[in-house]
């Protein structure tokens, strides 16, 4: 029950009790006054008078009081409602946005002030974590370049034993993998810190999809996967061409990687009311509902025992999610075990 309803009920009870007290008082007073004239019919007459008074004066007063009470509680609690809806809008990205204060120094104003202080402290902590990852990923880059360079230099030595050469090459492969992870991490942490500026321009999504379709066919060939472009309707959105191509490659590459031999991939781009819908569906093992709920998490790769054979750094879908969000779109991942897995992206267009 809302505070407002509860308060109104209490208020109603108090009013009714006071009405009864007034009624009893009035009854006694009237019976006293009448006692000199008609001794016989006193109680009957007094009762009539009292009930008449209660009915015509008391009840309207109570109703008026109740309405007033309802209004007062509403007025008193309005700041709380406002506060609640303002708090609802807070998430880790806008912690700096302060809740509006009335400035009248009452309890609610004080509460807002305390709350604002708390979000600022939280924002500081978030900021420190973001900066830490940003610096960490940046600091990792140079040593990796140096290590790779030095390994390559060792490879160039003449009369290198074959086993030694193999060892150096496998180290280069590992460094390459590490570099990819660091790259993805840098991109995401930069995005978190708001350091990536997207170049928005009108982009023909259908052209990008067609291009990506051609690449997917080639990527899918070694596994003999059939790729189908079931729809590619002409649609233009305002977006960053590079990032959109990256998104498409990420998604289609996943559709190939997590597929099966002789599998299927279906790509469709449709122009619907007010938005463009890109859907990429693929056959394959699929994921459990628990995994499905977490696919956009960074470094989350689902069933590790099953996926360790698949190359990747576990950041692909996180990057895809960021790109979609940066374009004010939505992305949805739906998978049915051993059936179909589909990713649906929606972009608004003007």
């Amino acid at each position: 029950m809302k505070i407002r309803t509860r308060l109104t009920f209490w208020y109603a009870a108090i009013l009714i009790v006071s009405l009864i007290v007034i009624g009893i008082g009035t009854y006694q007073e009237i019976s006293e006054q009448l006692s000199h004239e008609h001794r016989k019919k006193i109680w009957k007459h007094a009762l009539d008078e009292t009930s008449e008074m209660i009915l015509w004066v008391g009840l309207p007063a109570v109703i008026l009081g109740l309405l007033g009470g309802w209004w007062i509680t509403r007025k008193a609690l309005a700041p709380v409602t406002k506060l609640a809806s303002a708090v609802e809008k807070i998430h880790d990205r806008n912690l700096r946005a302060q809740l509006p204060r009335t400035g009248n120094g009452d309890e609610l104003d004080r509460l807002t002030e305390v709350f604002n202080d708390m979000t600022v402290r939280l924002d500081d902590s978030f900021q420190r974590i973001r900066e830490f990852t940003l610096h960490a990923s940046h600091e990792l880059k140079t040593p990796l370049t140096v290590m790779r360079g030095e390994l390559e230099m060792s490879l160039r030595q003449e009369n290198l034993a074959l086993a030694e050469k193999e060892r150096l090459l496998s180290q280069i492969d590992e460094i390459e993998r590490l570099a990819k992870i660091v790259d993805g991490l840098t991109l995401l942490t930069k995005a978190d810190a708001g350091q990536i500026k997207l170049d928005f321009e009108p982009v023909r999504l259908d052209e990008l999809v067609r291009e990506s379709f051609a690449d997917t066919k080639i990527l899918a060939q070694p596994l003999n996967i059939k790729v189908n472009l079931s729809a590619c309707e002409e649609v233009a959105i305002s977006g960053d061409r590079h990032r959109l191509r990256q998104l498409l490659l990420n998604l289609t590459d996943n559709a190939v990687k997590y597929n099966q031999h002789d599998g299927l991939i279906d790509i469709s781009l449709r122009r619907l009311a007010g938005f463009a819908e890109l859907k990429i569906t693929n056959t394959g093992a699929g994921v459990t509902p628990e995994v499905q709920a977490r696919v956009f998490e960074r470094f989350y790769r689902g069933d590790a025992s099953h996926n360790h054979l698949i190359e990747g750094c576990g950041l692909g879908l996180s990057i895809a999610e960021w790109i979609v969000a940066a374009h004010d779109g939505t992305i949805q991942f739906v998978s049915e075990m051993n059936k179909l897995t589909s990713v649906t992206v929606k972009f608004k267009f003007s």
Partner: protein
């Protein structure tokens, strides 16, 4: 050939120097942009390897200053992935080539060597490597009377490889220049395309032209 390497990260500069010296270049190293400008104006280098992010004065500004003084020394820019705008700015300012970071040292060496003989080869419309010819106007690839059916992307890949014959091309530079991706795609896209291209142009010929350099990339040569 005397080359100036401008790179603020000392260790990177040191192995670039070692690699170039190993190939017979004379190498000078600078760690700051302003020092590099002074050095380049005082000494006639045959080529400059120039990092974009530098203390003192950034690479693009060094390059612009050099060109403003009619200094036409060939410049190879090094740019971190994602710094597309800086790179475009660099090319507009008169850079001859660029290499995305992290680069493969073998590719860097090959490109520095190519800086010396820049010009004629890149502008030609008919490219030739051994018996393979590519007509960039008619979009036609031919080997001993056999014409190959290439997709647009395969054509661009072949053209890119043929424009630097005998030079190692790293995966990242192929991705950047053939696909125009400014990010690591995290896929084996390049390898799959190269495999397909190889099937087309090398299958049935004794002389193989498209070679893999493990851990580095690909090279088109006799």
């Amino acid at each position: 050939m005397r080359v100036l390497v401008v790179e603020d990260e000392k260790k990177t500069a040191s192995f670039v120097r070692k690699a170039l010296e190993g190939e017979g270049f004379a190498v000078d190293v600078c760690h700051r942009g302003d020092d590099a400008l002074v050095a380049a104006m005082a000494t006639p280098f045959d080529g400059i390897v120039l990092d974009i992010m530098l203390p003192g004065r950034d690479g693009v500004s060094v390059l612009r200053q050099l060109r403003a003084q009619n200094n036409s020394v060939p410049v190879l820019l090094l740019s971190a992935r994602g710094e597309v705008s800086e790179r475009v700015e660099g090319l507009n300012a008169g850079a001859d080539d660029y290499l995305p970071k992290p680069f493969v040292i073998a590719e860097l060496v090959a490109r520095v060597r190519a800086l010396g003989r820049r010009g004629a080869e890149t502008k030609s419309t008919t490219l030739r490597v051994a018996d393979l010819t590519l007509d960039t106007i008619l979009h036609r690839a031919e080997r001993r009377g056999r014409f190959f059916d290439l997709t647009a992307r395969e054509f661009r890949l072949l053209e890119f490889l043929m424009r630097s014959p005998g030079r190692i091309c790293g995966r990242m530079s192929i991705i950047e220049k053939v696909w125009d991706y400014d990010f690591d795609p995290g896929t084996n896209l390049v390898d799959v395309y190269v495999r397909r291209l190889r099937e087309k142009i090398d299958e049935g010929f004794d002389l193989k032209l498209l070679h893999t350099v493990r851990g580095v990339g690909y090279v088109l040569k006799e």
